[in-house]
């Protein structure tokens, strides 16, 4: 168990506090000059991995991301939060990788790095897809424990408590396995200045998507046709009595 290597997927997303705006043309959202940060669920996954290493249950934590060069900042944050090294699978500018592309890239990395456990956030806060972990487990043919709210390592296996609609479900999965982190798994630490300094010296590797194989490069199967903000709120109308209310509702076709 002491030789366990943990791979943690981290995604760079628009910061949760930002007021997101649709980009001109309706093809997506404005991202230029907008504050980005580490996806909160990925932070929880990373925190769990780092705690496993601090307890001695894991030997190494590798943070991985799939995207453009800008993701290096996200990986540096992950290093400051305790990851030992970072890997970026670089894709070109253009359509951002969706869950299928991200899972394919991570599957290729798994082949290269041979981790015994993969931890991801349950979903990203920009697309809310909740698919990457599941797709990755299917591609690798590994067991999966999604919506994890408690993780305990055992000899050659992992016990996962999952938050499901009916309550809590506990599974025992043989390693290697894929887990996705839910909100109540832990409370992530803050990066401190000394750790941010140390993170600058930790290794961060950039790998081109083409190096990892053809699966990642196949064109995305989903295309965003249109994105628009919901219609603005119209002013209300005051009426004097119930008959007038009914008359207005009828004239608007509501009754």
């Amino acid at each position: 168990m002491a030789a366990l290597r943990v791979l943690v997927g981290v995604k760079r997303v628009i910061d949760y506090a930002v007021k997101v705006r649709v980009a001109a043309g309706g093809g997506g959202v404005q991202t230029q000059g907008v504050k980005h940060s580490l996806n909160p669920f990925c932070e929880i996954a990373l925190e769990e991995a780092v705690r496993l290493r601090e307890r001695g249950a894991a030997a190494e934590v590798i943070a991985a991301s799939v995207g453009t060069r800008l993701c290096q900042d996200t990986l540096r944050t992950a290093l400051a939060l305790g990851a030992d090294r970072g890997v970026l699978v670089e894709v070109g500018e253009g359509a951002a990788p969706g869950p299928r592309e991200a899972a394919a890239a991570l599957a290729a990395l798994v082949g290269r790095l041979q981790p015994g456990l993969v931890l991801l956030g349950k979903q990203a806060i920009d697309d809310d897809c909740n698919q990457t972990g599941q797709l990755l487990a299917a591609m690798l043919d590994w067991p999966q424990g999604t919506f994890a709210s408690r993780v305990e390592l055992e000899e050659g296996a992992v016990r996962v408590e999952r938050e499901v609609d009916g309550g809590l479900e506990t599974l025992r999965l043989r390693l290697p396995a894929v887990l996705t982190a839910d909100l109540r798994l832990n409370e992530p630490r803050y990066a401190t200045l000394p750790n941010i300094m140390k993170a600058k010296k930790k290794p961060l590797e950039v790998v081109g998507a083409s190096e990892l194989g053809a699966a990642i490069l196949s064109p995305p199967r989903l295309r965003v046709l249109k994105m628009a903000e919901p219609p603005g709120r119209q002013g209300g109308e005051r009426v004097q009595d119930v008959p007038t209310l009914l008359q207005r509702l009828r004239s608007k076709g509501r009754v």
Binding site: A17, S37, A80, E187, Y190
Partner: protein, 481 residues
């Protein structure tokens, strides 16, 4: 209701009585609309009432109109307009004050500054950032996540940082990181006549300066009576590498307070040291579902590097044991630490839950540490003699403690006992060389005590400064002076 009615208008010092109000001049609201746009002006009663009170029990005093400026230029134009027409102006941040600071006792226009919420000039190397009034302390710390820095001043509410500067706020971390005053480097102030003032000069955030009178310190704690704080440049601090929290139970209030004094004298750089008396400890434990014995309790937090922390923990344990303390159990994970502090931060609600249906009033005296044990013990005896429900909680590391008085506002006898008690407590603190308000401000209710604290010379000097900056007494009239 309650305390204010009991106090009556006669207690207020000030050139105008609290109750004189002039109606707005004709076409004035139209002129406001011309500056900020129709949707950003409201004269609806519900909106005005929302803006006429804070979290204290001072009677709601709605303004005549509420405006939402979107930029400092608009604040200037609106102020100039109000100044020309001699209309009172009341700044409003989050409305979470505890002394009636936003109650528009003379009507006028409430400037709700919450839509100005830019975070600018963040410098990770200089440890400084500039925030507008719409930014709250939790929003700033959330924004700083990942930088390794934080802003430590943490009053109970998630208050506007500029509002915190206006009231000279403080929190549980003040014993190590200071109150607002040392952590504000510059203020962008709109004066009552609409002129713009940068208290340390435009665009400057020197960590120390000796250039002229300290205007920044003048406006910190001015409670909206000298101008609008439309941007504050704040000093940030590095996050501690490690932190540990524990509770400790003591056989008596004196033992707990003595332990605090000794921890400070041993120069342990304690980050937070909070006191709860047995009533408060019981109430908090019950409210938050934690097993806390109903006894005099200290809640301490230590910050440091991993090695330094272990040393601090050892020193603290020795001093606690020396004073008959027990029950030390260090919590280091963020979840457990968060739970303990959430329990402390909900003290106000825990106190109110002791007597559902009653009102609450918090006292706020601060005395020199050496006098703290005596003052606390005397106050406790006074509480018991007066037959009042008043759990005590406090930042004992600063000599500051609060009695959260819970009483039936409809019962004039009890309200009278509460009023008498708070006056005695204020004077007890003054007699011990302390202040009648450590962090909440003077607002509406403590003006009489301010005279006793500063003396006539002091108060006259304040009045002269106020007259120089606001000759027509338009900025938040009826407060502080």
């Amino acid at each position: 209701m309650a305390l204010r009615r009991v106090l009556g208008p006669g207690v207020a010092l000030g050139r105008r009585s609290c109750c004189s109000k002039r109606p707005l001049p004709p076409d004035f609201v139209e002129a406001l609309r011309a500056v900020v746009g129709g949707p950003n002006v409201s004269t609806a009663m519900a909106v005005r009432e929302q803006h006429g009170h804070d979290e204290s029990m001072h009677t709601c005093a709605p303004p005549d109109a509420v405006v939402w400026p979107q930029a400092v230029g608009q604040v200037q134009e609106l102020a100039a307009l109000c100044y020309r027409c001699r209309v009172p102006m009341v700044p409003f941040g989050t409305g979470t004050g505890l002394e009636g600071g936003v109650n528009a006792v003379q009507g006028g226009v409430c400037f709700d500054l919450s839509r100005m919420d830019a975070i600018a000039e963040l410098s990770l190397e200089d440890f400084s950032v500039a925030v507008e009034p719409g930014v709250t302390r939790k929003a700033l710390n959330s924004h700083l996540r990942g930088t390794g820095l934080w802003f430590p001043v943490d009053p109970g509410a998630d208050a506007s940082l500029c509002g915190m500067a206006a009231t000279g706020a403080s929190g549980t971390n003040a014993v190590r990181y200071g109150t607002m005053r040392p952590n504000v480097l510059n203020l962008r102030v709109v004066l009552p006549d609409g002129r713009l003032l940068h208290t340390a000069g435009p665009g400057r955030q020197a960590r120390k300066r000796a250039a002229g009178y300290d205007l920044t310190s003048l406006f910190v704690g001015s409670e909206g009576t000298l101008g609008f704080l439309t941007q504050a440049t704040l000093r940030l601090h590095p996050l501690p590498e490690a932190a540990a929290v524990t509770t400790a139970t003591f056989p008596s209030v004196r033992a707990a307070v003595a332990c605090t004094v000794q921890v400070l004298q041993a120069a342990v750089p304690v980050a937070r040291i909070e006191f709860l008396d047995e009533v408060m400890a019981g109430a908090c434990g019950r409210f938050s579902g934690l097993e806390l014995p109903a006894a005099a309790t200290l809640l301490l937090e230590l910050h440091g590097s991993r090695h330094g922390l272990a040393e601090q923990q050892q020193q603290t344990e020795e001093i606690v044991r020396l004073n008959g303390g027990s029950g030390l159990a260090w919590a280091e994970e963020p979840e457990e630490r968060g739970r303990l502090w959430a329990m402390r931060h909900s003290a106000w609600y825990a106190a109110l839950a002791l007597r559902p249906g009653c009102q609450g009033y918090s006292t706020d005296v601060c005395v020199p540490i050496s006098r703290l044990p005596d003052v606390v013990v005397e106050t406790k005896r006074d509480l018991q003699d007066s037959g009042l429900t008043g759990p005590m909680v406090g930042h004992v590391g600063d000599g500051n403690f609060h009695c959260l008085l819970v009483f039936d506002a409809q019962d004039p006898a009890e309200a009278g006992r509460v009023h008498a008690f708070t006056q005695r407590l204020g004077r007890r603190a003054l007699a011990a060389g302390g202040t009648c308000t450590g962090e909440h401000g003077v607002g509406l209710g403590k003006r009489a005590l301010l005279l006793e604290e500063l003396g006539q010379e002091g108060l006259d000097t304040l009045r002269r400064i106020k007259a120089a900056l606001d000759p027509h007494n338009l900025m938040n009239p009826g407060k502080v002076l």
